[in-house]
Every structure is written in C-alpha cells, then in structure tokens.
Symmetry: D2
Subunit: 286 residues, 4 copies
C-alpha cells in the first residue's frame, strides 16, 4: 500500500462542475491527485468519487485541509469521508467452526496485503481458538445457544465498542444477527454467503446447488443489513462443477470461492474503495 | 468430428461387473473402444456411460452389433441408445426478435463444429427471416399472439414431425411452451435462459440483476420441462459486471454468456454427451 | 452508446493540479463530465486520462470548445485527441481464409455494439468474399503471393487512404506487414495473434501449444508495430484445455479466444479507451 | 476422499480389447469399478487409464489381486501402479523465503482435502521455520549459498530417502536443482513456476510481464526435469491485470495464481490422477 497521503470518498447529487470544484480545492492547497475514480449514475442523478491525494507538498496540515473541505462538501450536499494514511482499520472477525475464511484473512493481513488489524476473533464455538492463539490474536468465546443469544450479541457489541472496531467480518459465522445489531453497525459488517446470491438464499446452499444440478457454484461477499442475504453485494466468485461432484466436493470448491470473494470484499472495504448506495455497493476495484 | 464408428449412451442400475460386460461385448466383435466416459452415482446406485467405438475392424455389420446388444442391455435393466457416424442431428431453431443466438448456432454449424443440420427456423416474429434466407434455411413465420398461440404450437409440432426434427432449440424464443408440447418432445428441447439459474427466474432477468447490484451475470442452457426454467441444466456461463454497467450493458454482456452457454449445450447434446437423470443432466464434456 | 457529447483522450507529463485544470476548463464552458478515467504512472511521471463530456448545456460550439483547449494542452505539454459523438470509426478488415473473426466483427457492428463502420474487406484469398457480399460490404481481392506482395501492400495503402480508413483490423490475415506499412499507420492497425503472447510467438502456435502440453491456450489482441507479435497488448483471453484435446480442438477453442479478444480490443480502440504508451496500451475498460 | 479400495494407474500401447481385459480381470474377482477414466492417444497409439476399485466384496486379498494383475499387465506391455486406500503420500516441501505456497499446502492438508502427509519442510533460509513449528512439522535448515550448494542437495537427498518421501514440492524454492537430483527423483518433484509458461521463462517473470504490458498473468505447476521450466505441465492459472498494476501488484495477484495452481497440481498427483507421458502430463481431474 502507498503509505502516505489522504483518501477521500464522496457521494452527492450530480451537478455541473463537481469534478472541477473538488479538484480545484485540492489543487488550491497543492494536494496532488494520484488516483481519481468517479462514477455518475445518470438515472438517479448521483455522483460518486474516490480520490487518493499525495499531501507531501501541501501548504497546510492534513487536518486543516480536511476541515476546510467541509464548506465545499456542504455546498455540494455531499456525504464525504477522509482517511489519513498510513492507517490500519481495526476489525473483529466472527467465526463458528470452520476456519478457512479466518485463515485467509489472517494470512493476507500478516502479508501486508491490506491495511487491516485484527483486534479480536469472536467465536460462538471454541474451534478457532487455536488458530487465533497461534497468531497472537485475542479470542473471545461467547456462548450463543438458545436463550444466550440475545446476551451474546450484547457482549459482541461491547467488544466492538471497547476495541474501537470499525469492521466486523462474519467469516462463516453461523448465527443470524438481530436487527438492532445490523442497524447499529450499518455499513460496518461484511458477510460471506456460501452461494451465488440471489440463488440459494438461506441454509445449506451447497446441498441446494447439488439437488438443482447447477454447473457453477459461487460465493457472495456482501454488507449485512437486517434483510437476510439481501445486503449490498461487494464481490462474487464462481467455480465450475460437474455431475460427479458430491455435496462434499461442492463444499470444498465452495471454500475456495468463499476465501477469494471475502478477501477481495474486505480489501475493497478497508481500502475505502466501496460506497454503499441504497441496496448496491459502488466498488472502485484495484 | 471423428467421422466413423458408433456412439453408445447407456444408463442402468449400478451392478458389479457392468463395465466388464459392456466392454466384453464390444471386444467380442472387435469393436474398439476409442473413448469411454463413465459415472457411477453411489448415492442413487446408478450407472451412466458413453462409449465411442471404432467399428472398422468389427466382425459384423453395425446394425447386427447394435441389435445384438439388446440381450445384454435388457439383462442390465438399462436404457441405451446407439448412433451411427457420420450423422447430422436435424434441428429446428425457434426465435422471436433477437438473432445473436441464432447467428452463433448457424456459424458453428457451417464451420462443422458440431454434427447439426438446421432444417428450419421458426419465428413468431419476422425479424430473423433475413438471416435465415441469407444462409439458405427455410423460415416459417407462425403468428402466436393472443388466441393464435394454441394453434401456433400445433403448427410447430407439425413442422417438427414432418421434418423429422430431433432437437428444438429455443434461441431466445419469447413464448412459454404449453405442457403438452414439453411432454411430447421431452428431452428434445433446449432453452437458453438469460440468467444464472436459479437466480432471477422469469421475465427481465437483466433488469432484476441490475436492481440487485450483482457483480456477475450469467446464462443457463437447460432442457425444457413443463416446470418453467427448472429443467435439467446442461451448461452455465458468467461474466463480471460492475456498478457502472447499465441494464443495456448487462444485456450486451449477457448476449455473450447466452451464445457461449447455448453453443456448448447444443454441442454436448448433439454429440450424445448428455444423459438426463431426473432433474439434472449428466454431461461428459469434450 | 451514448449518442452525443465529446470524448477527450490525453496524455502528458504528470504535474500538480492537472486534473483541476482540465476539469476547470470543462466547467468554465458548462461541459459536464459524465465519465472521467485517469491513470498516473508514478514511475515514469506520466499522466493519462479519458473524459466523456455532455455538451448539451455548453456555452460555445463544440469546435470552439475543442480549439480553445489547445492553449491548455500546450501548457501541459500534452498529447490530446477529441472526438465528437455520434461517430462511426471507418475500418478496413484484412482477411485470408478463415472468417470467424470477420463474422464476429460484422455481427457486433450490425448490432450497434460499437461505433464502427466497415468500409471494406480486403482479402489475399477469395474465401471471405461471400460473407462480405451477404452483408453488403465491398470486398477487395488483392493477390499477394510471391513477387506480388510489395505491390499488394501498396494497393491496400491506397484503399485505406482513399476510403479514409482510421483502423485496419488484421482478422487472421496471414501476411507479415512490411515495415513502412506498420510505420505509416502506426497506432491504427490491430491484430489478433492466436496465442497467449509472449508464449508461442510466430507460426502455428496451436501446434506449439499442443506439443508443449499446456493446460490453457489463449489469444492476444495487440497493436501492430514493425516488431512481429511484440506490439502493445490491448486484450488477452484464455480457455482451459486438457490432454485429450487434439490440435484441431485447440484451434476450435482458440477461435473462441480470438473472437472474444479481438472484439474487445476493437471495442476499446473505437471507443477511444486506449492510449499507446511506448510498448504497452493503457486501456480504460467499459 | 473415499477411504477404501484400490487405485490403478496404467499406460500401455493401445490395442483392441484392452478395456475389456482390464475390466474383466476386476470383475473376475468382484472388484467393483467405481471410477474409470481413460484416454487413447490415437496419434501415438497409446492407452492411458486410471481406475478406482471398491474391493469390499473381492474374493481375494488386496495384495493377491494386485500381484495377480502382473500377468495381464505384462501381456499388455503396460506400465502400471496400484495404491491401496487409505493412504497418505509422504512429502517434503522445499522453501526459501516466501510462505504463501507452503501455507496453502499445510492448510489444505490439515483440512483433509488431499491424502498428503508433510514429513518435513526444508529451507535454504530460516524464514519458514516459524510456520513449520507452529504446525508441528520438522524444519530442516540447509545452507546452500555458493560452495555449499552441492553438499546441500546431497543432504536433501538424504532426508528424502531417510524419511521415505515420495513427493518433493518446490514451494517457491529459489535454487536450481542439479541434474542428478532431477533424474534420481524423476516424476517425484513438483514445482510452481511464477509465470504462464512457456512465457517468461527464468528469473523475475512478474517484472518481465510488467515490462511487456500483458493483460493476464499466470502460474504453472509442473513436474521438474533437468530442462529448466520445461517439464510436464500439470496445471495453470491466470488472473486479469491492468495497466495500473505495479510489479508489486502483479506479485500479489501472482501469489493467488501460484497457490491455486500448486494446490491443484499436488492434489492431482497425490490422488494418482496424473500420468507422465514424455513431455506432457495426462491429468484426470476431479
């Protein structure tokens, strides 16, 4: 990752001269645009952008630049978000039994592929404790069976808040989140669903795929909303399957889809490459 | 295509020694196995196979060999089917307005990529008449709007029977087939559905995909049964899409999926590489 | 294709404020930026951009706007190119025997997928005359065997100039172009090479791929330079192959790669989505 | 993996009745053919096959069945190989600095995806010691710089022999193997080359790919012969790249190719799904 500078994400009603205004504000203070991605939704009359700025020759402090942007942002009726580099986004990974997605995230994080810091791994089973401890990441076991579920999610909320977690990753976490949780952390929860949504919504999608005799299986990485498996899609992956693949084979091939799609989805999110717009995600890929 | 010899397709209850028995019958008459594909469904206890036989050194006539197999076939409680090479499977292509799938089929047929002879193109619109005539294929315009629909399908049936058509291809044919038609030509109708089934069943799947914000779109080639869009899947294709793709872009990218999936599906069918088993298709690809 | 407005392509040394300056010039005259793609090569200190402008509310005529940009362009030491929409890029397609690439280009052009007008098809064999005539496109047969080759390329040059051709597509044209021809039409000739370059340079790549036992074959669409098969790559496609595929199968699968890669490459070029930079092509895909 | 039974791999000159003879031998002793993959190379007149046998109802002991096959095998002038299930193939993994391929192999092995037992990890750097120790696998550090290289390979040979290793995996092992080593363990060494062979043979392929401006990068898993990067290819993978990807990005995307291709290559080898035939690998994929 390029270590310094600032990332700006912005969305607003579309309007003439908007690129010029944003770029001029940057140029005014010698913030050099090193990457500029933009999308105009002509049907909805909306403007979306992501900018990477080299601030090494800027004539003011980063915070001064960021604060000063507010005047323009308000004039544009925009939503905007700045992030100063270098940074690491603090994340909690929620798991149940299987560890392939967790392993993938840890591996890519340790390799420095994305600016992520896993502050804790939270499990409603003990299965992933060992991998957490091997990598020196705190593991929180939280019982969630039956009546304990409601209290469990409150405990998770406390951990998220206490550890200043910005992103919660559901890495094959086999519990349905309560509405209040989805709403409190809206836009901050990423799930990997083990099917090519919207096909095979709900439980046991590989079994469903096998019964249907599909020739491709997939996985979908999406933001979590209170509407199960219907949140904005960030990334999808598929693998080819044939008649001789058993449900166990589909699970094996599906694991590869899940790891790929989740890793990419997280990468885009922590690099501020996603903007949620109603029920879809604008993604500026790298 | 290899020009001579015999293709045998067979399915039966699984049983010990079945490969040996089939191969021995072939060897007995010096029919040389040049390709042998087999699948055993251990869960359902079923056996499926496809054989290509070089008959150039066989000690009997082809028909004698084929007839003689019946004794073994019955002993195995099998369904089986022989085809003598060279052959061209006679097909009717049903269309409405768009011609990209039709064009693809004609092109691959003319190139000799598959043993297919398009005996007629049947349209419930006149749009594809020109392309049919350019390639010297008879075009039948059949009105199917409103009350004419029932009679229209009877006319199509007559054409199919009269022309000894073995395969009907729905190449973006925008009419729902009546039950009696699906049943009369069961296993002989191939459709291209313009979505990645079972996602986006029904009308206007590209619009549905756009609204859902998916990151991959697809097409599904399947056998037609009376249950809409739920017949055995032969082939599926996907293309990556992004937030900036409009429904028109999805249609454009979808056309490429449709051409690919349909061409492969037809290829597998006319090469006797598919066996329908309940609601799935066993496909031995080449 | 969006029908109106202006496309601007530009490359220049990178410099602070460049986006701001370009966008401000547009905003100054109420040219609305509907699409803005940009790439900064930090290593080479170069800036590349492509802009789509909605000019419906512009305060001057298109040509006035375009001419006025020159002052800024020169100040930026830029190369730039404007194109007014709607337009159709005039193209000649050069062929020898096989017609699959030609067929693909004609089909996509007729469908309106890209702003292309095929003004002529030039063949050093007669094989493609029929398809040209079916589609009402003039066919020029030019003998190029042996001593006729040099004169043949002069005739092709004459056709290109006379017909105001902006793009020459080598659609499996089996003749090596002379240096003077490559230089005269530099950046205006696109070739499809039937291998995954830089593997299998030169003749008979499918045979080479078969002998090497590769598991993927490909095709490469690239600009033609005088260095054989080494020009800037626009697009590449691959297909999976297995041990049982014969050289004839590789040719069949390769045809699909070639059609895809060439169609995309042409699409990017005629949409002004490519910028040639030394030996590579910057491509802003859609 | 299906736990019991026998796998038979065989290659021989092609000859009439060969399938019948093999299947009859199995049927004679009630060994049930559960999977039968076959390939006839008509050009070279060779026959290749892989059989999975359910031996639960066999009328003799496994070893008796295996020994008895010799009579038929010799009559067919075949090479053949039996393996009794369940088994774990003993493997050494050779590494230098990077651990992504090693991590992938360990992860899939621990998950039980393939019948592999990693008996030791051998490094000419200390970098991978930690990951080895975390997973309880012995790590052998062997100095190979300069004059120590020859002795180093003798030490590796000793480890391989002493630990009864059947497969050596070069998981980004950055040393060229001596000829004697390649020959002694012919067909038992698998390498991952970080390019889409035969493109970019030799050192620093990602840099080469970047300089060439390719639009796809790849990785190749192949058997090692004394001819550098020219051994039989088992599997290849590609990823799409664009102009904005730096050499560091290509390395990141390349890592994903390498992990995929190597994992599949190993999987096919340890499942006895590969047969080496001169300079290519017959692969019966699952």
């Amino acid at each position: 990752m390029k270590p310094n500078g600032i990332i700006l994400k912005l969305d607003s009603p579309d309007q003439p001269g908007i690129v010029s205004k944003i770029a001029s504000y940057c140029a005014l203070h010698s913030a050099n645009l090193t990457e500029f991605s933009q999308f105009t939704d002509h049907k909805e009359n909306k403007f979306f952008a992501r900018l990477e700025l080299d601030t090494s020759r800027m004539d003011v402090e980063d915070d001064d630049f960021i604060n000063g942007f507010g005047t323009l942002g308000r004039a544009l009726h925009a939503n905007w978000h700045f992030r100063k580099r270098p940074y690491k986004m603090r994340a909690a990974v929620l798991v149940t039994k299987t560890d392939h997605c967790l392993n993938e995230i840890i591996w890519r994080t340790e390799l420095g592929e994305m600016p992520l810091e896993i502050t804790s791994i939270i499990g409603n089973r003990e299965d992933c404790r060992e991998i957490a401890e091997k990598h020196g990441i705190p593991f929180h076991y939280i019982e969630m069976d039956g009546e304990l579920k409601a209290a469990g999610f409150e405990k998770i909320r406390d951990i998220i808040i206490e550890e200043k977690v910005e992103l919660s990753v559901l890495a094959r976490f086999m519990q349905i989140l309560p509405d209040w949780f989805c709403q409190q952390f809206s836009g901050q929860i990423i799930n990997i669903h083990h099917s090519f949504l919207p096909a095979f919504i709900g439980a046991n999608p590989y079994r469903q795929a096998y019964e249907r005799g599909v020739k491709l299986i997939g996985a979908t990485c999406h933001y979590v909303t209170s509407d199960l498996d219907a949140g904005p899609i960030i990334e999808q992956e598929v693998r080819r399957v044939q008649h001789f693949h058993t449900p166990a084979d589909l699970m094996r091939l599906g694991r590869d889809c899940e790891r790929d799609a989740l890793a990419k989805g997280i990468r885009y999110h922590v690099s501020d490459r996603t903007i949620i717009d109603r029920n879809r995600a604008i993604v500026f890929p790298d």
